[in-house]
């Protein structure tokens, strides 16, 4: 009896040690993204499942949240030391702060080892994440801000896509005179109107000041006259009644629903929304970039497109850096990206991901349209430091409601910029 018990114990011990050996080889990586919409999340789950099947022993834990909340979530994760292995980023200062904090892996050696991977991205999108010769993220979703217009409305009035601001104003004048609201805008979430401001600043503030001096936490001042001049153009639109009422109490999606329902002729939106707009307007839309502003005060870059891609970072402090990079490579493969494009309707930065079968014509045109521009001008809400972005969004609502002037708005930004400079002086 004693022998049988001993044998049983021995067997159990061996089984335990074997299972421990097997689990020691198991690897778990955390993947945080912001694609939580019903049509998006399942695609990422499927890709992860496929990766796990092809890589036995690797487990990818997905965490997802909204576009609005992911920034807070990453801050909490950073504070608690529980950073994901692969996570979402935007370009500019937003990405750079992770680089400074030591939470963004320089992917250059991996790219040198696998040049095919490097060459698989659209060059303009790829370089958006190059900082000091290091490649700290790979671009995943392409994005730029453009005006979307209802083709039927433009045809009705015989409008051509405007090339200059004056042409755009003539269109607005005609529409307004006929009782049609030219632009639909909802700034309830406080970032929509700043997209207008940012695009106008790109046209009015010299590029080296905006993207060189003011996107830098050590030198930011926001005192170029171009800021106020750009905002004055927005005030002009408000004064002429070219926007819908109640901008601040309408959220972005609600504004788009109003737009689909027949209100307004144009909306300033992100290219990554084209699929939704296509459904909402039943294909009845075209697009154009913010036109050139022919004004001596407009000293910014007129030839760039306002926007930048989204990307993914690998955490260098991950216990499984190589696995995380391998997973990212899998995620950005043409096959995975084609799946994401066709099922989640994304705008991919990977060459060959978009085909005529999986992409609406406007988006294919959009991707080609981008090539007409002399590069991209980064989003101001990614380029500026976080507290300046916060002020920009909050005071931006007051400015859109015309409860403060352009000068007050810029003064508020300057005040925050001063604090940022002081905090980063050492």
């Amino acid at each position: 009896m004693k022998k049988r018990t001993a044998a049983l114990l021995l067997t159990m011990a061996m089984a335990t040690s074997l299972s421990t050996a097997a689990s020691a080889e198991d690897v778990t990586i955390k993947f945080l993204h912001k694609y939580c919409q019903p049509e998006q999340a399942p695609v990422f789950e499927e890709i992860v499942k496929q990766y796990e099947e092809e890589h036995p022993g690797v487990h990818v834990e997905i965490e997802t949240t909204t576009d609005n909340e992911i920034k807070s979530k990453l801050k909490l994760a950073l504070g608690s030391g529980d950073m994901p292995d692969v996570y979402q980023t935007w370009t500019g200062e937003y990405c750079e702060k992770f680089i400074r904090a030591g939470y963004a892996l320089d992917l250059t050696p991996y790219m040198e080892e696998d040049p095919e991977w490097k060459d698989s991205f659209l060059p303009a999108a790829y370089s958006a994440f190059t900082y000091d010769d290091g490649q700290y993220a790979v671009p995943t979703r392409f994005d730029a801000e453009v005006f979307v217009y209802k083709k039927s409305v433009f045809e009705k009035y015989g409008f051509e896509e405007p090339k200059t601001w004056d042409e755009l104003m003539k269109i607005c004048e005609t529409l307004k005179a006929d009782g049609v609201t030219p632009f639909i805008l909802g700034d309830g979430l406080s970032w929509d109107a700043p997209h207008w401001y940012g695009a106008l600043w790109q046209k009015f503030v010299p590029e080296d000041v905006l993207e060189g001096q003011d996107f830098n936490v050590k030198t930011v001042t926001i005192d170029d006259p171009g800021y106020v001049n750009g905002l004055n153009y927005f005030t002009d639109l408000l004064d002429k009644g070219y926007f819908n009422d109640n901008i601040n109490s309408m959220e972005h999606n609600m504004a788009l629903e109003v737009f689909y329902a027949g209100e307004g002729a144009m909306a300033y939106v992100e290219m990554l929304e084209f699929n939704d707009i296509n459904k909402g307007l039943d294909g009845d839309f075209g697009f154009f970039a913010m036109p050139t502003i022919e004004d001596d005060a407009a000293k910014g870059n007129q030839e760039k497109l306002f926007g930048a891609p989204e990307g993914m970072i690998v955490n260098p402090n991950s216990e499984n850096v190589d696995v995380a990079v391998d997973f990212l490579k899998f995620l950005t493969s043409v096959e995975s990206q084609q799946k994401i494009v066709s099922e989640a309707g994304h705008t991919s930065c990977v060459i060959g991901a978009h085909t005529e079968e999986n992409t609406i014509p406007q988006l294919i045109d959009g991707m080609a349209y981008v090539q007409n521009f002399n590069g991209m001008s980064n989003w101001t809400d990614c380029g500026f430091e976080a507290s300046i972005v916060d002020t920009m969004c909050k005071l931006g609502q007051d400015f859109a409601a015309q409860s403060i002037t352009a000068e007050d708005y810029v003064a508020g930004l300057q005040e925050t910029a001063k604090v940022v400079r002081e905090q980063n002086a050492e």
């Binding site: 807070s72 801050k75 904090a101 309830g188 009422d245 005071l395 007051d398 409860s403």
Partner: protein, 291 residues
Amino acid sequence: MKKRHITACLFLAPAIIVMLIFMYIPIVQNFYYSLFNWSIYKPGKTFVGLKYFIELFQDKVFWTCLRNNTLYALISLVGQLGVGLVVAAILEAKFMRKHSGFFRTVFFIPSVMSFMVVGLLWQLFFNPNVGPFNGILKAMGMNTANLNILGNPGTAIFGVIFASQWMYFGYMAMLLIIGIQKVPDELYEAAEIDGANALQRFLHITIPNIKEMILVDCIIIVVGSFKLFDEVFIMTNGGPGYASEVISTYLYRTAFRADMMGSASAMAVVLFVITFALSIFQMKISRSGEE
């Protein structure tokens, strides 16, 4: 005796340890952090002393937050406690007792709903484009052309406060009903014999007998008003601009949007001092009575 002490300590130890780790140590740590300039994205901290406290009291937005919190507290005292008291008295009146159960349920239901749902509901209700609020006022002959409750800096906080009153007055009424039910019937009967009418019975019997409960409710409302977060975050996100910002949402924004952790910690200290002082007051009051 000694053994009994040890047993008691052993039973209390887990709770004390959890409280220490998750409450008292973080409170002390938070005060310590408020003396430094630090960021989640940067290693190291720079000592700045009381700089953030001084800046906080010079910050216009912080005063807006304090004003909004105070407004919320004052209006809630009337809207939740005052209305709750009247509703409780009516539901406990003899002529209502038959239907009181139904109305208690109706008034109490909003308070068990998630504010996420209630907030979105009221947000849509007030929306001038799609909500019925402006339409109702227009049908009553009012000019609603420029009426945008949550989108106007002057009215946004009142929209939030109103939604909150709707949600919680039933809860307050329930608490007060419990108090009223403890008042002996003999007192009302004696008053009736003496010729007291309903209002006199309410003023001279009901209120003095539920005084303790009213005071406790007052403190719950006032302390809750300074911890306000969900309502503002969901309905207006503190906007437009900073118009409906309250201390908690401003703290959240300063820490997790602007990444100014030292300043946010200082704000948390001030919030702690306010709520702590009010809680002490509450404890004093609850000890002073019989309940």
